[in-house]
């Protein structure tokens, strides 16, 4: 990547982040509605801190920090970088002010752009490598910004709307799910060297996958409603033991953001509070709900290897989809295109798809040295892998081998269900 490309990419991602925040009021930037959610201004500051801490501090000798306390306020989980504000207390900080955080962004951007110009040629490669990581990091936080803003607003009794939108309702019926068959065999999985991929996608390695079939589309709200109305949330035998405990202690009766009013189910979206649309992919379900639904339907969730294989061979024009850039901020019903039995649809975008694979290192996995070794590797316990991105994922951020991961009970991301079954 040359200096120009680097600068352009950097600028693009930084502007995208701020565009997401444009509809917010100052007060919205400060709120942490649950521990999982961070205040938007924290995301704005943290992504900036990442460039300052990981790049400016490294490349500029005698670097003078923008503000001594920002390293404390905006560190997320890097033990290597010292103490930090307790995650659950990010919403107790009125300062730095929103405008001060934007000032911080301005100044770090200025320093970064200057560095892109001034860096010596031999260091350009490493600078590009780390900047690419920073850009990808900021893209991850773009998705979190969308999901956190959604939670902050949906949690509010005044039901504020993020964006008014002419959200056209699909009238087409969603076709019955089709089952695309895949032969088993010994295949390679994970990311080969370039272009950019996270360390957790490496090394590319062989694994054996038996024959299987994959649903050609995600489960819809209409299908999920049958599970609810069939007593799915009341039948312990459908659930993993931990899942059943969660259902009971949190009193789940439907996906997050669903509310029952009289005879209809309503749903809170970033573009308003309205009726559940049966044709849309169900989202905001936990792994427990995804697994329970699949079992109830007589199917199962795919492994991450099945998913990757199916996408490689059955996904067609792969990176078309409903991403962050669509501005829709909600999964879309399957478009009118005629179904094609040999082809998976909506594999990228719309909803992250829970797999039945635990988030563990690939054979031969090596953590990056130093602080960046904390980026991914230390989370490899008690989480499940999700694949495919969502309507809040930037399009350029997703790929076949991308491994997202969350704990089994998390629901505030755009997480949905694609089922698999044995041949």
């Amino acid at each position: 990547m040359n200096r120009k490309e680097l600068t352009d990419k950097y600028n693009a991602v930084r502007q995208q982040t701020e565009a997401i925040c444009r509809p917010l009021e100052t007060e919205d930037y400060v709120i942490q509605s649950i521990d999982d959610v961070s205040p938007p201004k924290w995301h704005l500051g943290h992504t900036t801190w990442f460039f300052e801490q990981v790049i400016l501090e490294e490349f500029l000798s005698g670097y003078k920090r923008y503000h001594p306390e920002f390293y404390f306020v905006f560190n997320s989980y890097y033990e290597s970088f010292g103490e930090r504000v307790l995650r659950s207390r990010r919403g107790t900080l009125s300062r730095p002010l929103v405008r001060q955080v934007y000032d911080y962004r301005r100044e770090i951007d200025r320093r970064m752009l200057e560095l892109f110009e001034s860096v010596e040629e031999p260091q350009l490669g490493e600078l590009a490598r780390l900047t690419t990581l920073g850009i990808n990091h900021e893209q991850q936080h773009q998705e979190l910004l969308v999901t956190d803003i959604k939670h902050i607003l949906a949690d509010n009794p005044l039901r504020p709307v993020y964006l008014e939108s002419e959200d056209s309702v699909s009238t087409a019926n969603v076709p019955d799910v089709g089952w695309v068959p895949f032969e088993g065999g010994l295949h390679e999985f994970g990311a080969a060297a370039p272009p950019f991929a996270y360390d957790n996608e490496s090394p590319r390695h062989q694994a054996w996958v038996g024959g299987f079939r994959m649903a050609d589309r995600p489960v819809t709200c209409g299908e999920y409603l049958e599970f609810i109305e069939g007593g799915g949330y009341k039948n312990s035998l459908l659930w993993l033991s931990d899942g059943w405990d969660t259902v009971q202690s949190l009193r789940w009766t439907a996906p997050l953001y669903w509310e029952q009013a009289d005879d209809t189910w309503l749903i809170n979206t970033l573009t308003g509070f309205r009726a559940v649309r049966p044709e849309e992919p169900v989202c905001h379900v936990s792994f427990y709900e995804a697994a329970a639904y699949a079992g109830w339907a007589g199917k199962r969730l795919p492994t991450e290897f099945e998913w990757e294989l199916a996408v490689r061979f059955g996904a067609g024009k792969r990176l078309k989809g409903n991403f962050l850039e669509s501005g829709r901020f909600h999964p879309a019903a399957l478009d009118a295109e005629p179904p094609d039995n040999s082809r998976l649809r909506q594999v990228f975008g719309d909803v992250w798809e829970w797999t039945n694979s635990a988030y563990l290192p690939y054979p031969g996995y090596l953590r990056e040295q130093g602080a960046l070794g904390e980026y991914n590797g230390k989370f490899m316990s008690n989480q499940m892998v999700l694949r495919g991105g969502s309507c809040a994922t930037p399009q350029s951020h997703i790929r076949d081998t991308y491994r997202n991961f969350f704990q089994c009970d998390k629901r505030w991301q755009f997480t949905g269900i694609r089922m698999a079954c044995d041949v």
Copy 2:
């Protein structure tokens, strides 16, 4: 009270509240740093809701609420008025926005002023009675605004200052504490009918108080430091059992807002972070600390009856003092006036004084009927009485018979210590 007086008093208190908030940034209005603290904008809205719910709703037939959800958002603890936002979740609400809350104030003020003019003469008495309650209610929240703002800012790693102030340091030494003797006897306590007092100060009733002596001033930071340095926080035998549990579980080693840096003790105030001044009254201590200190000093806390008696007979120019109106926002060292052995000083203002009396009904106490019966009476368990007001109390709000009350472990109010002893 005539219409003019009513209007003037109403306007004065409403403006005072907003004056307290003037130094705040928008972000500061939204924060709830701990459960005890409410976001400033919530106080602004809640005091306004009180007038709307208790007065406008009552006096104007067919009254149309300003906003249907505000009754849910701004109710504090009145079960009679229906559901409300969980106290601990007040800090998760970005909406209504700060400017919307100010709009709300404007409009309710307009309606109240209109009502003062238009109310029929026969109803004026009741309107004045309820408005007076609303004004006193708002004054209570003025004090809470000050203490909550203090906590919100002090909790922030950037150490924002509420008000820069030329906080003159007293150079005079504080004289040794003097012990003013009072004879016992049968006396009357509590509020006689007019002017305004809360129901919990009634009825005026007899009680027997034995002879006692009362300290002529509150305990100072310097004196309290001796307790700390003498191992006060490490000696279980000085503490009530519940107090010792609290010291250990919350790891208390000094009053709230004190921090030890090398060899000095620093203190966080609304006007900045600076050294502890030995001559100032100690504040932000819990009942447990007050009782432990007094025991360590070989003394005890007064009962609320001793306090009231001592003030009646020994307080001289009683309502002079360091109140909210002084704009100091911190207890002041005793002024230069020569001590006078027969006279208590600093009884009003500066710091609330913990008594060793539980907050319980006076003999013959009757709760107000209806929702206002929830104002005071339902808190008559597990709390201790405090007397005298603080540097955050509006001067016109305090009186001899005023009974403030908090749980034994609370420290975020300006609470201090005046000791008593037997003859």
Copy 3:
């Protein structure tokens, strides 16, 4: 007290304790069903440790402890005596075995009896004083043994019965409650010097009590049922704020040990599980329930001074009653004796009566020096006073001035309700 009397009293109380445990199986001795409850074998050991720690250790120079770890295992809350097993973990100790605890009792008894004989005359007074304290301490634990055994057995799905008993049902109707009037005035309260009383009953002191009326008997189960059926547990306005929180978080719908089966209310007693008897005094209610009931009935709870005064002037043959010695282990319906409007009944025994007085020191109260200062004084916060003893109190343990105390939410003691009202 001479040596003989001391020996006899000591032996009597020690045997009484073991008699209470006689119906237990080995397994019953080990259980801690909730944090408030201690395993019976712990009570057996703790009361013995008290004599060893407070007396033998003091009087015998070079005293050799029975077992080094017993000081750790059997200390209850005396910080002065060093570390101890966490209260909530008493039920995790299988050792010392029950028979080892009885061996411990045997040996300490032997040493105590020897000391009674061998102590020098000048020390006899102090020995008698401390032994009397130890005896009273053991009597308190006798009551706790009864209530803890009740909880341990009642909590068991097999519903074991402590004692089969020919529990004769009263057929007489309970007369309507009568209201005995008392004139107010300045009176003395608390214990005068001899005979034995706890430090918290001292000093005897004056207090003014206004005129009042006192119910001539405790509230019955039948009366309390009306409160339940009238929606008492569903109406927040009847409750103290802390009480209402407790009702909701613990889902209380009736007193402890009550269960609803079809249309009847059943009750778990030490002599079996059977129907609620409307004529018996209600018991196992918290302070919150007592206060809510009284308010619902248009009355209130008495203060501890009203109670003491009423008993002094209106209780007739005072120490007759249904105590531990009756072997009934449950409050009894009012006996057939004709009511007498000038006289309170059932003031001693049957049920402890919640007062509306907080447990605080009397004017001039002095804690005992040293470790015994921890006996009572350190609990003087967040508790309410109860008076009169219960069906689990040893008869010789109770007196007019006795102050029992528990937190407002405790229900596992035999606690009931006697109401008062203004004239």
Copy 4:
């Protein structure tokens, strides 16, 4: 299996269980020292209930339950079989008494033996199948009995010893760890049909495993001490994120049962409290500790497939080992046998070996129908697989394909560490 074999196997396992309990006192049977631990008498009853509920109830029409409440008391986690005592409250039950539980065992044994004789030939196969499951179930509880008894006794301040033992100390030095190489390839894993295996070991299926090397013995206490003394518990970068949180919140500084006294490390074992022996395999470490140790040593944990493969090809006389039957109840130092570079030692018995594989279904896994489907499948989230059995595992219970599983933070089982590395 014929009737005779069935009877013999049944009798053998039932006697083995009771033999484990023989050294206990009655009081020991009742204790639940932490939530993970069940009282020994509960294990005795629960294993018996399993036969009654799963077999007698099925095979005998009109079967009359031994005791109606035992189905409630002794159900562990089978939702299909109705309500049950909350797991954390098993230690609050004094009844049924220990002798009543033994009576229950006697009677169910009598009924089972009678059934073995009387069952019709066509049903014998199914009876043998379910009895085998019940026998294996009881063997699992034998291991839990040992570990739970260990915890109950070790938690006691009197330090009771389960069994006095002439625990000969090995004098031999443990040889340096050797690394046995294994070639990768496509292999079959899991249990083929007969003999008995759990459903979670099926189906036998292919998987690809790359080349790797496996340590020829488990990590010793001496090696683990170097980790401790090298600051292992203080360096966040060695730990998984969840692991580091656990270390900090539970204040771990060493394996469970280790205590530091002056300069030595002591260890609590079932045969007494004594110095840590450097040559013994370290045990009572969590997955987090195992993973942190391996990372610190520059190695990693094996996957469960690597482990199974290594054992298949490199374990020699496989089922020799230090099992429950040895009566040692503690892992043993490597015996004097000369090391053999091509061979793994101590793969079975001594300590369970944490793998880096999550406990998930094998491809094509089918839960058993009905209640027995709750046996294994519902636990397939948030747990890691352990292999090889321990010194508390019955020898006949373990096999190559056996998958044990626990949450990452559990330490009260005999869990240890065998490392692997890449070629």
